[in-house]
Symmetry: C2
Subunit: 200 residues, 2 copies
């Protein structure tokens, strides 16, 4: 890209879009040109939506879920039991768990996973906030974190941190998905399924 | 996506990002969550860059290239010959041609190609602007449009429109790229290369 031939404002726009997750230099350039060609109103809708979302949406002061109030819907619901806290990586994971209608406790959103390669240490996640929530009422911390390298690291880290607080730490089960054929399962999933076997 | 569980402002943000080229529902959601987690300053940089670019960058009144002035660098350069106009699809194509240092005329940016499938008719492109530029001084219109279905349609359309104006219409050559092996060329490129053969 010949920087001399592009106006500074366009370069800045491309640069800012490149910072967004999953957008490389080519996509950023394509989006920037798209924005310049759009009419005033469409562009206004785009940047207004960013300003509005940023203004209106905060993190719940208890569980760090996204929320328009100080406390999110779940934390402010008196029918949810506060003794069980389900720890997830992203706020979007809550939606997936809520859909199962199997969990009636509260959540805690870490906003990421520990990843030394990407420079994400425990201090960059909402782990302090989780620890400070744990009190004598807390019965169980359920880790609903995927079994990736980062997920395993985070799980291990949290287990070591929470165990000394005399709270039960569990982890959701990994195994063969319901409805899938055993023979087509990948080795790691199958290994997890055997490891997690239960008496029936 | 459970719309009931997401704040309205977040849904709006996801919706707006989904309108950008190459961004699907999953990417839009990921970007929206990323924006919410960012600090105030980073988000301000993003939306400011959109506002600034939109405010500062216009289309050149002559060739529709992007420009911060009423006339772009190339159109306002007295050393560029105004007799030859090179027609391109996007402003970014100009950069590619400028790098060759082989062309000293002026450009015209169509801002797209005719595509009935996507509902882009000739009226949505800067074709009127091109036709109104052509005058007794104009010697040659060089079509630098790629040989895709949309490119071929646009080329044919422009040829029919410009020929009656008694202006020479040419098209850049398509063929085997320099440095590549003939045997690995795709059939269509090879066919274009044979069709475009010249006496030596």
């Amino acid at each position: 890209m010949d920087t001399l031939l592009y106006p500074q404002a366009l370069l800045k726009l491309i640069e800012e879009f490149q910072k967004l997750p999953g957008i490389g230099p080519k996509s950023a350039q394509r989006i920037a040109f798209h924005i310049i060609k759009q009419n005033e109103n469409n562009v206004k809708n785009l940047y207004k939506s960013i300003i509005d979302a940023k203004e209106v949406i905060k993190l719940c002061s208890i569980c760090c879920n996204i929320s328009t109030q100080e406390k999110c819907n779940i934390c402010s619901n008196i029918n949810r039991d506060k003794e069980n806290i389900c720890v997830v990586s992203e706020a979007s994971d809550i939606i997936a768990i809520e859909k199962t209608k199997e969990f009636f406790g509260t959540y805690h959103v870490l906003h990421g996973l520990i990843s030394p390669i990407e420079g994400i240490g425990p201090d960059k996640l909402k782990i302090k906030e989780l620890i400070s929530r744990i009190n004598s009422e807390t019965k169980e911390i359920i880790l609903a974190i995927s079994p990736s390298v980062e997920g395993e690291t985070t799980t291990l880290y949290l287990k070591k941190l929470i165990k000394p607080l005399n709270v039960k730490v569990t982890r959701i089960a990994f195994g063969i998905p319901v409805g899938s054929e055993l023979e087509y399962s990948d080795t790691i999933t199958l290994a997890k399924a055997i490891e997690g076997r239960r008496e029936i």
